[in-house]
């Protein structure tokens, strides 16, 4: 969450609750509603690392609030995040390790593992279908995220088929 908060603060200084609202507003249902405590903990760490700084702003009826803004070091760290390619999806996943190792020990049969995994992926796909159906069409970021998850699952299934062809 560190870099997400830095990105939001690069736009404008904000206090913790505003950051929570901004995340909710931008991502809609695509992002699990962030815990306010977690946001404050992350902001505290960013402050300790010198990436953000806080000023107290006095409020009339309430306790002072802390408004955070980005430091030069924070800006740099955000820039290098934006400039780097992002790590791709995992290749050596847990299922693959299971598929290779379990039959060696005689505790599982490859065909059974593959068949079970296929059904599992299809059940996940069904979840995603239902989720897409009840996501509002205006919630474009959420829909794109769902579509991305579907495409990943399709690739997983295609690859499972390859495993079944080659290992059986």
């Amino acid at each position: 969450m560190r870099l997400f908060l830095l990105a939001l603060l690069a736009k404008e200084p904000a206090h913790g609750y505003e950051l929570k609202q901004a995340l909710e507003q931008i991502f809609g249902s695509a992002y699990p509603s962030p815990n306010i405590g977690q946001i404050y903990v992350t902001l505290g760490r960013l402050e300790k690392d010198g990436l953000v700084r806080a000023v107290d702003v006095e409020q009339t009826n309430r306790p002072n609030k802390k408004v955070y803004y980005l430091t030069a070091a924070g800006r740099e760290s955000l820039d290098s995040w934006a400039d780097e390619p992002t790590e791709g999806p995992r290749v050596r996943d847990e299922f693959f390790m299971k598929l290779v190792l379990a039959p060696m020990t005689g505790i599982a049969d490859r065909m059974t593992l593959i068949n079970r995994q296929r059904r599992h992926y299809l059940a996940l796909m069904r979840d995603l279908n239902e989720l897409a159906e009840r996501t509002a069409p205006e919630d474009r970021i959420a829909l794109l995220l769902i579509e991305g998850a579907m495409l990943h699952l399709q690739a997983d299934l295609d690859w499972l088929e390859r495993c079944q062809e080659d290992l059986s």
Partner: protein
């Protein structure tokens, strides 16, 4: 693939024939597929829409036998939606073509609605298809010199519906697929996705007891796929029996049951598990954004 296109042509040719043979032929009880009645459980159970017994297809390739389907026992009950998956060359298309009589079986039995079908001749198959089977292929096989509306109404009329029934059904189907505005267009004026939706409407026009589909979304972008999925989901909820070959996991995940083929044999056959998530889950719960 040329085989699909050929199948479609043959179907069109068959439908111009009028040979009313073998209608209602019903073999003796004891010839019918075994295990019809499981002990104690619903003894009056209806005939399955499809049952095959040790179904085999062997192609001859320059004198060399090439087995495509090697002993498939498949039973599909009324109202089931079955997806058939598997690598290319695993026999999926061949199986579905045999079920529709587009490709003769080498050995084994095919039963449709409790009647033996693999022994039928071409014209009897044509009649059976006209009454009971809808087909959708990856390539649409629409009649080029007929309007969209006529393409969709034709199978209903051939199956014996009145012109009014055929028209009403066509209007409902085109409406469900967002094609009402295209009713008077010629197929060539339509984009690929639209043509496929018309093909699906046509396949459903005669209220077939069985819808057979071979990669129906294979050529569609995700928007058109979504419309086709929506209609499939709806007709399935209304009780349509569907057997569909597909590579597309989105499509397969709508099915009640997934049959996996490998080298012409069934290697897995089972239900897709019901969703495990809480109904209120959101995209954020399904899709992990790592921070």
């Amino acid at each position: 693939m040329s085989r699909e296109a050929g199948g479609g042509r043959r179907r069109a040719a068959d439908e111009s024939g009028t040979d009313p043979v073998e209608r209602g032929e019903r073999p003796a009880r004891d010839e019918r597929p075994a295990e019809r009645v499981r002990s104690g459980e619903r003894p009056m159970r209806a005939d399955p829409v499809v049952a095959t017994v040790n179904l085999v297809k062997i192609y001859q390739n320059g004198g060399v036998p090439v087995p495509a389907v090697r002993g498939v026992d498949l039973r599909v009950e009324r109202g089931e939606f079955v997806a058939i998956m598997g690598p290319s060359g695993s026999g999926k298309s061949t199986l579905v073509h045999m079920l529709g009589g587009l490709d003769p079986r080498t050995s084994g039995e095919i039963w449709l609605d409790g009647k033996r079908a693999d022994t039928l001749g071409e014209s009897a198959w044509a009649l059976l298809r006209r009454k009971k089977i809808g087909f959708v292929f990856q390539f649409f096989n629409l009649v080029a010199n007929m309007t969209v509306a006529d393409n969709v109404e034709l199978p209903a009329l051939l199956a014996g519906a009145s012109p009014r029934e055929a028209r009403e059904r066509r209007e409902r189907l085109l409406d469900a697929l967002g094609l009402t505005g295209r009713a008077d267009a010629a197929p060539a004026q339509l984009a690929g996705g639209e043509q496929q939706r018309v093909a699906l409407a046509r396949a459903l026009a005669n209220r077939p007891s069985l819808l057979l589909a071979d990669e129906p979304t294979g050529n569609l972008d995700s928007r058109n796929t979504r419309d086709v999925l929506k209609l499939l989901g709806e007709v399935h909820r209304d009780g349509q029996t569907i057997i569909m070959v597909t590579h597309d996991a989105r499509v397969a995940s709508l099915a009640d049951r997934v049959v996996s083929l490998l080298d012409g044999q069934i290697v897995d056959d089972g239900a897709v598990a019901a969703p495990r998530r809480r109904p209120k889950g959101t995209a954020g719960d399904v899709v992990e954004l790592r921070g």
